[in-house]
Symmetry: C2
Subunit: 225 residues, 2 copies
Amino acid sequence: MGEEVKVFGYWASPYSYRAELALKLKGVSYEYINEDIFGNKSDLLLKYNPVHKKVPVLLHNGKPIVESLVILEYIEETWKHNPYLPQDPYDKATARFWIKFIDEKCFPTLWLAAWSAENEREKVTNEACEYLKTLESALNGKKFFGGETIGMVDIVASSVGYFIRVTQEIMGQNLLSADKFPQLFQWSEDFANCSIVKESLPPRDKLLPFVKGLIAKYQQDNAKA
Amino acid sequence: MGEEVKVFGYWASPYSYRAELALKLKGVSYEYINEDIFGNKSDLLLKYNPVHKKVPVLLHNGKPIVESLVILEYIEETWKHNPYLPQDPYDKATARFWIKFIDEKCFPTLWLAAWSAENEREKVTNEACEYLKTLESALNGKKFFGGETIGMVDIVASSVGYFIRVTQEIMGQNLLSADKFPQLFQWSEDFANCSIVKESLPPRDKLLPFVKGLIAKYQQDNAKA
């Protein structure tokens, strides 16, 4: 079709991963441009996302779309095959509710639980566990949040199921254990074992040292503040 | 059609106002239930929104939908007449970008600028002005963010254009002046003067003392923390 589809991302970003996984689920070919987000952001990134100056940016036939959740909705509406959102408005609203819950509550709180100062960690960790308990209830016996196949909730939950699990491993935390959250644990295993997910996730042995460095940086910046 | 449509809201909440305005723009009749959110939340509110325990809740034929932005998308998809989101996926993505920007950046920062401690206020106020500058660029000569008529961006921006203007008046701030942001100022005038908006906004003389009390409460809680 001669379409131009590009993703400006960062290899370890759970946010740009969302955009990439969505395109892969749709079978849409794209060119990936890895941005130097901790060093020099490219002129193109700043041009395409002047407000937030962040990855991911999806470029479709010259037009930029930014913010990972906005990008996911755009991909779903533009390439209608292999839908990852339900068609029914109520089911769609339910999916959007969980997406917002993961993005605004679970993921930031779990990330905070990893690097926050010791005197705050217990409180944040308890909060994170409450969120995980609530999130587990959304699985309700299903294999994926989307049912039998990966849906948009699963795409967004990869930030918790993969990126946070790596983070937890580094910090010797084990909030997402089979013991505490059997359904969520099984989901994160099943999700990471889907061939399309497996072949596209940032490799564990490369992600581990990167996240370790990131946590050290956050802790240092926080101690200074 | 024998449809049951109820909104559990709070009369002064910019979030439940969004749900109400959306239904009014669609011409959908609904029953409004005012919740005592600062005292005793009703059993129904807790049943319908067990995760966040917040207004607004839209109840449609017995099914609850929560989170104002999720509710707006649901209303748009359920009652397709008088659309308030563009049909084109790219234009829709652009609208969703601004909605997120208002909801996550402009509104919370402007609210913070109103009640934050004096030593922080200047920094927060400057940040808020930068956001307003960016938001003004989205108008780009149009009467409304949605063009000639009110769109979903306008519905969400009512939190800034009306609720924050009242807040600013109380605090003797004037960030949204005709002088500083002529387009945004004109928009907020035009918006508040639309008959459907005018007749549904919480009355100014009732809102002023309420917000004044709320600011005092926030300042007190903040001083204690």
